[in-house]
């Protein structure tokens, strides 16, 4: 701690000295360096992220995210839990799209056990996965307005998100943290009336997207605060390991749902991967909006031809995963999320590496914040869209 502090102090002193040297050359432009701390408790950081920004007037000279305020030690905790218990934990990594967190872990365990969920379970998994994506990204769209001073979108987002949460609760019993996935299938079948109800809600969600597009994306203030701001070019985005909508907004056509063969139902339906060539804040928001639309389309098509049959494969009562290592990643609402599970044949994993999307997405913050103005910090952070549990785990 002290060594980093002294390092920061040294950097700060050298920065101020450099500024002073410049100022001696040009007295009119003399400004003092200032360090601005955003967070760890700040509404714009979606939780407990701390951004340390060094400013020159209104411009950011140097910025760094300080992570770890939400570190809960998941990777260590999985070592002392059994496989069925781990899903209850990993629900809480990305707390807005909880169901999506379970799926890659379960798929990794199934890969090690060499079993596959029955088709109906795969279908339901995909439906719930997309529902959790909608629940996640619809809140992002609402929150986006708040970051720019518009309060109305967040009310609309919470209103329509409740419908999706009701669906998830009806199917799984959990509003937020379903813990519904089991190795070899699902805990239960869908409840009666779920399919009709879901169709109605998907229609509502499409209306919500249209409303958002008109109200927020068509707003002049919104456009002037996001267009051409926080531009991340294609090559930089790939170098920093961005994934998900952040990468697609920079023009990279990459979506693990399409590019990977997993025992899920995405390749059975017709949908489109949206990209945007600009790479600015607006592009990132726009790609996410289109993703919600695509998700509603995916869910609708999956509901049309959901296969019948059991939702659980034959698995032993006490689950012991054979020795081996497996890596499975999926396209979660925030980007690529993967689990590297090392098994020694015990009841629980020997070691788990969790690759969460936000941690890599946030790594670009020092690069993208360099040279921007202070109010743009907030919009850029909002458009990068991270969740603190997903960063710190």
């Amino acid at each position: 701690m002290t060594s980093t502090e002294s390092l920061i102090d040294r950097r700060q002193l050298s920065y101020i000295a450099a500024q002073a040297a410049d100022a001696r050359l040009n007295v009119e432009l003399e400004t003092e360096g200032m360090t601005l701390n955003i967070g760890p408790q700040h509404p714009a950081t979606h939780g407990t992220l701390r951004i340390i920004a060094r400013l020159d007037g209104e411009q950011v000279v140097w910025a760094e995210p300080s992570c770890g305020y939400m570190h809960r030690g998941y990777e260590k905790l999985t070592e002392v839990r059994t496989y069925p218990q781990v899903t209850a934990l990993v629900n809480r990594i990305d707390w807005l799209g909880s169901f999506a967190n379970e799926v890659p872990f379960i798929l990794a365990a199934e890969k090690l056990m060499e079993i596959e969920a029955p088709p109906r379970a795969q279908w339901i998994r995909t439906i719930l996965f997309e529902l959790s994506r909608i629940a996640n990204v619809s809140l992002f769209l609402g929150d986006l307005g708040v970051q720019m001073g518009a309060i109305t979108p967040v009310f609309m987002a919470f209103r329509d998100r409740e419908y999706v949460l009701n669906l998830i609760e009806g199917a799984t019993g959990g509003r937020f943290h379903p813990n519904f996935d089991r190795i070899g299938g699902l805990k239960d079948d869908l409840p009666a009336g779920f399919i009709d109800e879901t169709r109605v809600v998907m229609k509502k969600l499409r209306n919500f997207c249209d409303e958002m597009e008109n109200l927020l994306f068509g707003n002049e203030i919104f456009q002037s605060r996001t267009r051409g701001i926080g531009v991340i070019p294609k090559d930089v985005a790939m170098q920093y390991g961005l994934s998900g909508a952040n990468l697609r907004a920079s023009g990279v056509d990459w979506d693990l749902r399409r590019d990977q063969t997993l025992p899920m139902a995405w390749n059975k339906v017709d949908w489109k991967v949206w990209t945007h060539p600009d790479g600015d804040s607006f592009a990132r928001c726009w790609v996410r909006l289109q993703e919600v639309r695509e998700s509603t389309r995916i869910v609708d098509q999956l509901l049309d031809n959901i296969p019948s049959g059991p939702v659980m494969a034959k698995v032993p009562r006490i689950i012991k995963v054979p020795e081996g290592e497996a890596w499975v990643s999926t396209e979660n609402p925030l980007g690529e999320m993967g689990y590297y599970v090392v098994s020694k044949g015990d009841l629980g994993p020997f070691r788990t590496k969790i690759r969460s999307a936000s941690f890599n997405n946030i790594s670009i913050v020092p690069w993208v914040l360099k040279g921007v103005y202070v109010p743009d910090i907030i919009t850029i952070l909002a458009s990068l869209y991270f969740i603190l549990g997903d960063i710190d785990r």
């Binding site: 760890p40 408790q41 939780g47 407990t48 770890g68 305020y69 939400m70 570190h71 809960r72 030690g73 260590k76 905790l77 002392v80 209850a88 934990l89 809480r92 707390w95 807005l96 809140l139 967040v154 009310f155 919470f158 209103r159 409740e162 509003r175 937020f176 943290h177 603190l388 549990g389």
Partner: protein, 192 residues
């Protein structure tokens, strides 16, 4: 407020003061983890509109707040900041601990980096159990706290004669007896 300090406030004035305090609670939203979203749903969504209860969820800083909702996992790195912001709040101040993590560590009971309960750092008035609790549970916690504030004797509070913390969802019998035992009746009797 010297009268309040010594606990010599006339009874009608005391209940008037309490009525005002209970229906103008400024809540500082300390959103930490998953529970923050449910707190946002309770405080900021049209379905569970909290302002109808006389709660204002939008203070600009903890220095303007009467009530803080600690919602989510408090880690050891975050704990000093929690304490510091609590200390910045003016008296009389109340704390709602929302969710299992803030109550006792929750699913991270054996984690190396999580503080097992925010009550290790700051005193808690209302515990809302759940992982995360539904917004209705948080609203009930707020309502129970308002009931307690209405019956509160300021003198007893200043002297630090705190009553037992409220736990949302306790059986109605014990909650009722707790409510009748605590608060103004007992406190006033002690002052007299």
């Amino acid at each position: 407020m010297g009268l309040v300090d010594r606990g010599r406030l006339p009874k009608p004035l005391n209940s008037l003061l309490n009525l005002g305090r209970s229906y103008s609670l400024w809540v500082y939203q300390w959103g930490l983890a998953c529970c923050a979203i449910e707190m946002g749903a309770a405080f900021g969504s049209p379905r569970y509109d909290v302002m109808r209860l006389g709660v204002i969820p939008l203070p600009a800083s903890p220095r303007q707040a009467d009530l803080v909702v600690i919602s989510g996992t408090v880690t050891d790195k975050m704990a000093p900041a929690v304490k510091r912001l609590y200390e910045q709040m003016p008296e009389p101040k109340y704390v709602i601990s929302m969710g299992s993590c803030a109550n006792c560590g929750g699913p991270y009971w054996d984690s190396y980096s999580v503080t097992k309960g925010v009550d290790q750092i700051i005193p808690v008035d209302v515990y809302v159990p759940g992982c995360p609790p539904r917004p209705e549970a948080l609203l009930e916690g707020v309502v129970l706290l308002q009931q307690r504030i209405r019956n509160e004797d300021m003198g007893a509070r200043w002297r630090g004669e705190g009553s037992k913390p409220i736990i949302v969802g306790e059986t109605t019998k014990s909650a009722k007896s707790g409510a009748s035992k605590s608060g103004a009746v007992k406190g006033a009797a002690r002052v007299d």
